[in-house]
């Protein structure tokens, strides 16, 4: 089981999807208005991630390579729908506050990324734990960001008073612009760490700051993080005609 433990640590620390890889930024910004929302979104994503990883891994020998991306999307969308129905039934208040971002988990880059880069080429059990680890990392990150925004924006944490009354809440942090500011500081911090590692000659390639996370939408050529082979064959076939300058060829190394 040491491999399972290694996957957990990997997702939580070494390849934390938010703090290190900078994946899935849309939900990160949108739902972290409070710590509770961040926690809810993180756990929901984790459930989908773990289950889809497990199933994709179980089906990895059946799914043909050429249609793997549509197949992944259907599997992920099914689990998202199931989780959404469960939330509607058992946690209606959370479902309401997360709103449209629950079904939008389908397009979260982390899930497709793990399916493509891990679950599709590894046995079920490590894949399951990879999903749980990544999901936990995402949950921790979202809860932290949510807590920061809640403390600054309302002086509370998990809905309880945290700072003394003399603290005047900076309301903007609970609203949309605050999300951009918090993320900007986070990326700046990452840049700082990255610059320092670079100066000291330590490995820094994994830190994905500055990446807009979405390899499907990304036009960056020669990116080490690219998990998404959009040169032909697979997925929706959108990128088949090879003469498109904005969409580069395969570059799957380094992941």
């Amino acid at each position: 089981m040491s491999r399972a433990g290694e996957r957990l640590i990997n997702g939580l620390v070494k390849e934390n999807p938010t703090f290190v890889l900078m994946l899935g930024m849309c939900p990160t910004l949108a739902v972290t208005t409070s710590a509770v929302n961040g926690l809810g979104m993180g756990l929901t994503t984790m459930a989908v991630l773990a289950l889809s990883n497990l199933f994709i891994s179980l089906l990895r020998k059946i799914i043909p390579n050429r249609v793997r991306i549509p197949a992944f999307i259907v599997i992920i969308a099914s689990f998202v729908t199931a989780v959404q129905l469960l939330l509607e039934g058992y946690l209606p208040s959370l479902n309401k506050s997360l709103g449209v971002y629950i079904p939008l988990i389908v397009v979260n880059c982390i899930i497709l990324g793990r399916a493509e880069s891990y679950a599709y080429s590894n046995p079920p059990l490590p894949s399951l734990f990879d999903g749980i680890g990544m999901g936990l990392g995402f949950t921790v990150a979202l809860t932290c960001i949510g807590a920061v925004r809640e403390i600054l924006g309302a002086g509370e944490i998990f809905g309880r008073a945290f700072l003394p009354d003399s603290f005047e809440p900076i309301r903007i942090f609970g609203q949309a612009p605050g999300a951009f500011f918090v993320l900007a500081s986070l990326v700046a911090l990452q840049n700082y760490v990255k610059n320092r590692l670079q100066r000291e000659g330590k490995p820094y390639e994994k830190i994905g700051s500055g990446c807009t996370e979405d390899c499907m939408n990304c036009a960056e050529t020669g990116c080490k993080k690219r998990f998404y082979d959009n040169s032909g064959t697979a997925e929706t076939g959108a990128r088949k005609s090879g003469k498109r300058p904005a969409v580069p060829g395969p570059d799957k190394e380094g992941r």
Partner: protein, 194 residues
């Protein structure tokens, strides 16, 4: 049928007041990724308007006449994402064959939109707000127009930012995010419109 007044309210609300990127964080990826130059940003914007308007029409029709009719509304997420992916494919092939000039202008951006979460987001919002087909199309167009406005403004600012001396840690994405945050504050001014 919705009255013209309601449609106008949707138009203003979705394009300016609750801007898709700056207050809902949908389509953030191309917003940050394709906003280095005003020209490419505008091209992306037009492509997004085209695809989202079309996608909300198709999704609206499909929801009303297939999903609702057979009482399988819970399949919306699966159906919408597949339909959108297929639709973008189809639009690309159609443009290539029928309107080469337009394809030259938009073709590069089309595949980038396939998984843009704004497209799926609009389709799902239309269902949640119980918009009719026409209101859905108007909402789709307005949302995409709001995206275009935001991305073109951001690209303009980024072109100017190139000449500024920015602290090393803030170079690249952080300063863009800060700019986006300030734009979001500016867009709050529009909430007085409704």
């Amino acid at each position: 049928m919705e009255s013209v007044r309601e449609l106008l309210v949707i138009l203003i609300a979705s394009s300016l007041v609750s801007n898709v990127v700056l207050s809902q964080f949908l389509g953030l990826c191309p917003f940050l990724g394709v906003s280095k130059k005003t020209k490419t940003a505008a091209g992306m914007g037009v492509a997004v308007i085209f695809v989202i308007t079309l996608a909300s029409a198709v999704a609206g029709i499909l929801y009303k006449f297939v999903l609702q009719r057979f009482h399988v509304e819970y399949l919306e997420t699966i159906v919408f994402i597949l339909v959108i992916a297929a639709l973008v494919q189809f639009v690309e092939m159609f443009l290539k064959k029928a309107m080469p000039a337009l394809y030259q202008a938009l073709g590069v951006y089309l595949p980038l939109i396939t998984t843009n979460c704004a497209v799926l987001g609009v389709a799902l919002t239309n269902v949640r707000k119980e918009y009719g087909i026409l209101a859905g199309i108007v909402n789709g167009f307005a949302t995409a127009a709001g995206f275009t406005v935001a991305i073109v403004i951001l690209a303009g600012i980024r072109e100017k930012l190139e000449h500024n001396d920015i602290p090393k840690a803030f170079q690249g994405m952080p300063i863009v995010l800060l700019t986006a945050g300030l734009m979001a504050i500016a867009f709050y001014g529009f909430s007085g419109l409704l």
